[in-house]
């Protein structure tokens, strides 16, 4: 079955540290990839997405992600985190031609300390 793995369940960083959250998907075909973020007390919202083209995609708030097809990975990065980045981050995909249902990973809880 198709699935998404997020290996880091809890991450604690100091402000200005660099961030990389891992995401691997399990599916042999073509997928569209997403990162969603849920800030404390807020709704899930889209951070960035990859459909095709340049495998390095940039999203809101200085986040970026790189699609590496050979590794089935779509890791999220940010060079310098801020306290306001404290949130839960979810990687997800949609199968190309497979309707519009999102398959999510289990999420990574990021805490940024001052």
């Amino acid at each position: 079955a198709q699935s998404v793995s997020q290996h880091n369940h809890h991450v604690i960083l100091s402000e200005a540290a660099s961030l990389e959250l891992g995401c691997n998907y399990s599916y042999g075909g073509t997928v569209n990839l997403f990162w969603y973020v849920q800030y404390p007390g807020q709704h899930l919202q889209l951070l960035l997405k990859y459909f095709s083209g340049d495998p390095l995609v940039k999203g809101i708030k200085g986040f970026e992600a790189e699609f590496i097809k050979s590794k089935f990975s779509f890791n999220l990065r940010k060079p310098s985190v801020q306290w306001s980045d404290t949130a839960e981050y979810f990687c997800a995909f949609i199968l190309t031609g497979g309707g519009n249902k999102l398959t999510f990973g289990t999420g990574t809880q990021l805490k940024v300390e001052l």
């Binding site: 997405k49 289990t106 999420g107």
Partner: protein, 116 residues
């Protein structure tokens, strides 16, 4: 503009009871989705509507779960004979169209269901 809204925000019920959860999508969005998020997990797909019809209900766990969208706008998720394992946050999302992943799904705040 208004986002996706869900009512109630919290629902506590007893095992065996029937519950209804409501979702109001963003105006003009033809596609509507229900997901369920259990503690410590990511959201899991339940069902997707395109207009009034359920285009994909492959995520509904069993026949106790049912959802409707009679006029192509508001949707109701119905759970019969609730079980403790149904306790979760039920999320609703909507998008302009269900055609292709290009249409961003906008999520509501969720309904936290607790079955005692």
């Amino acid at each position: 503009g208004a986002g996706v809204s869900q009512t109630p925000s919290n629902k506590v019920t007893e095992k065996g009871k029937y519950v209804e959860l409501r979702c109001d999508p963003i105006s003009g969005h033809t596609a509507l989705y229900w997901y369920r998020q259990s503690l410590g997990q990511g959201p899991e797909f339940l069902i997707y509507f395109q207009g009034t019809g359920a285009a994909d209900d492959s995520g509904l766990p069993n026949d106790r779960f049912f959802a409707v969208r009679p006029e192509g706008s508001v949707s109701t998720l119905k759970i019969q004979r609730t079980e403790r394992g149904d306790s979760a946050v039920y999320l609703c999302a909507s998008s302009l169209s269900g055609q292709g992943a290009y249409n961003e799904q906008f999520f509501g705040p969720g309904t936290r269901l607790t079955v005692l």
